[in-house]
């Protein structure tokens, strides 16, 4: 039973008011000359950057889920070489900074293979980076399914593929959803690092506006709101999915 709505509303209002008050106080202390008019002139740049960020994030989100799934299964493969390969890939990607990966991928690897499109390289790098994390999340989800279940599956004569399809995945899905949502949210934020190879996404465009108007806060506050508009729906959607899958298993 949820709490009655007036109580919910008041408490939500109180929490919100608290946060607003905190920021109001901090900004009040700053004694800053606001200049929103200069930012408004650049609104097209913000919108264009925001859309680029959505496109890049969405593409690498889909791609990284595929990569993550592949490497999660590869780690449980019967071929030892494939298992080692995925282990090495995951450790290297998770252990090195994304900034370095982007630079090496773009200026060394992509240059060697004559891939000139920096957007493509950006999406691939981001997908590889995020894919390593997602594969670990999926692996953890798969391993959370108890051994007795696998033995039961074997006992009733399910094949390996059937075991994955009907026993492991439905249960692993619920375990993986919360960390997966977190990973997707950080993927969107990590896409801002692609600005170093001059991909004109949201962050780079905000920085360009900042460098030509010198209105730092006015450029970065819309940036924060823009990212929040992308990440909040993801959190809400996965919460909804979690609820739906709660009694399925």
């Amino acid at each position: 039973m949820p709490p009655p709505w007036p109580l919910r509303l008041v408490n939500l209002g109180a929490a919100f008011f608290l946060i607003v008050l905190l920021f109001y106080f901090s900004f009040h202390q700053l004694n800053y000359h606001w200049n929103w008019a200069s930012i408004y002139e650049y609104r097209a740049k913000f919108v264009q950057g925001w859309i680029t960020t959505i496109l890049i994030s969405a593409s690498s989100l889909g791609l990284s889920t595929g990569i993550g799934l592949f490497f999660a299964l590869a780690q449980r493969s019967r071929w030892l070489a494939l298992r080692y390969f995925s282990k090495i890939y995951i450790e290297i990607v998770r252990g090195t900074p994304l900034l370095v990966q982007i630079l090496i991928f773009f200026y060394v690897v992509a240059d060697a293979f004559h891939v000139e499109n920096r957007y493509l390289v950006g999406i691939l790098t981001l997908a590889c980076f995020s894919g390593a994390y997602i594969s670990e999340i999926i692996r953890a989800g798969i391993e959370s399914v108890g051994k007795s279940q696998l033995e039961s599956a074997k006992a009733i004569g399910l094949t390996r593929a059937q075991t994955y399809r009907f026993v492991i995945f439905p249960q692993a899905l619920r375990q993986t959803l919360p960390p997966l949502a977190g990973q997707f949210v950080s993927l969107i934020k990590d896409s801002s690092l692609l600005s170093i190879i001059s991909i004109s996404e949201f962050t780079l465009n905000a920085r360009e506006v900042n460098s030509s108007t010198f209105s730092t806060l006015e450029s970065y506050i819309p940036l924060a709101i823009g990212y929040l508009l992308l990440t909040l729906p993801i959190s809400m959607w996965t919460r909804h999915l979690e609820k739906r899958h709660r009694f399925n298993t």
Binding site: M1, P3, A14, L18, N31, F214, T216
Partner: protein, 281 residues
């Protein structure tokens, strides 16, 4: 079965009265806190904090030990000696210098910054202390020989974020594509790998970047826009301006700039004199 209380029942965790009370007391506590501290005054400091981006040798850079060094660092120290105040160097990204100055995090900008009309709307500039110009670094095999060759469809121009080259490109480059990068090194790399046709930057750095990549790049040092560097001050800080200008005058008269040029820019000085380009503080 009715005895089992579901986990998500909110009553387990909080009674309604407690919830109301908690919300109310938190609010009043924070309100008191905010309005009592809101009247605090801003602090003054003895030290002069000078902001610069230590990524522009030989003007602003770090030595092997990681200490700031270069023309601007020496200039800042000489200014401190002149004013009798201690100097603290703060390393900030170039596009963060003006915001830092505006919000009072630093007191002066000495970072090879060109005094432009746009920047002058946000901050004040001292008398200029060095004159230079924008020019091009192009690939060895590039057909680009001037700014006009560059501004063609299908051409790509690299610029560094927040520099006058960036401003110039946004205004004057109409047909070519502009690549905005964070670091000077990345801009040079784009030209070296042929991803960009040219990099718009100042003469001294272009010369230096060409010397580092003589096989892959070629400088077109003829400036297409003259600029002069100055020290940046906060608009509210009117008292400091006459002191800074007097110092610059004094420093020039003492031959301080000549000395700095000989110490840090000997090679450039000779090369520019041979090529007949103006080079002076």
């Amino acid at each position: 079965m009715n005895m089992i209380v579901h986990k998500s029942d909110w009553r387990i965790r909080s009674s309604p009265i407690r919830s109301w009370l908690a919300a109310g007391s938190l609010l009043s506590l924070l309100s008191v806190l905010v309005f009592s501290v809101a009247s605090c005054s801003t602090k003054t400091r003895e030290k002069l904090v000078v902001g610069m981006e230590l990524a522009y040798p030989p003007f602003e850079t770090t030595d092997t030990q990681g200490n700031p060094t270069g023309v601007s660092v020496d200039l800042a120290r000489a200014l401190g000696a002149h004013l009798g105040r201690e100097i603290e160097i703060q390393n900030l990204p170039f596009d963060g210098l003006i915001p830092a100055l505006k919000t009072g995090k630093i007191d002066l900008v000495i970072s090879s910054m060109t005094a432009t009309a746009e920047r002058a709307q946000s901050i004040d500039f001292s008398e200029p202390y060095l004159k230079t110009g924008l020019c091009l670094l192009v690939g060895t095999n590039s057909a680009v020989n001037s700014q006009d060759d560059l501004d063609q469809a299908g051409k790509t121009v690299a610029v560094k974020l927040g520099t006058t080259g960036h401003t110039f490109a946004t205004r004057q480059i109409k047909r070519a594509k502009v690549l905005v990068l964070d670091k000077e090194d990345a801009c040079v790399l784009e030209v070296v790998q042929g991803k960009a046709d040219a990099f718009i930057y100042d003469q001294m750095s272009t010369f230096k970047n060409w010397q580092r990549n003589p096989e892959t790049t070629r400088p077109i040092l003829k400036p297409f826009q003259e600029e002069s560097w100055a020290i940046g001050l906060r608009k509210a800080n009117k008292d400091l301006m006459p002191d800074v200008n007097r110092f610059l005058q004094d420093f020039r008269a003492r031959g301080g700039f000549e000395e700095l040029g000989d110490r840090y820019l000997k090679e450039q000085k000779q090369a520019f004199r041979q090529m007949g380009f103006p080079f002076y503080f």
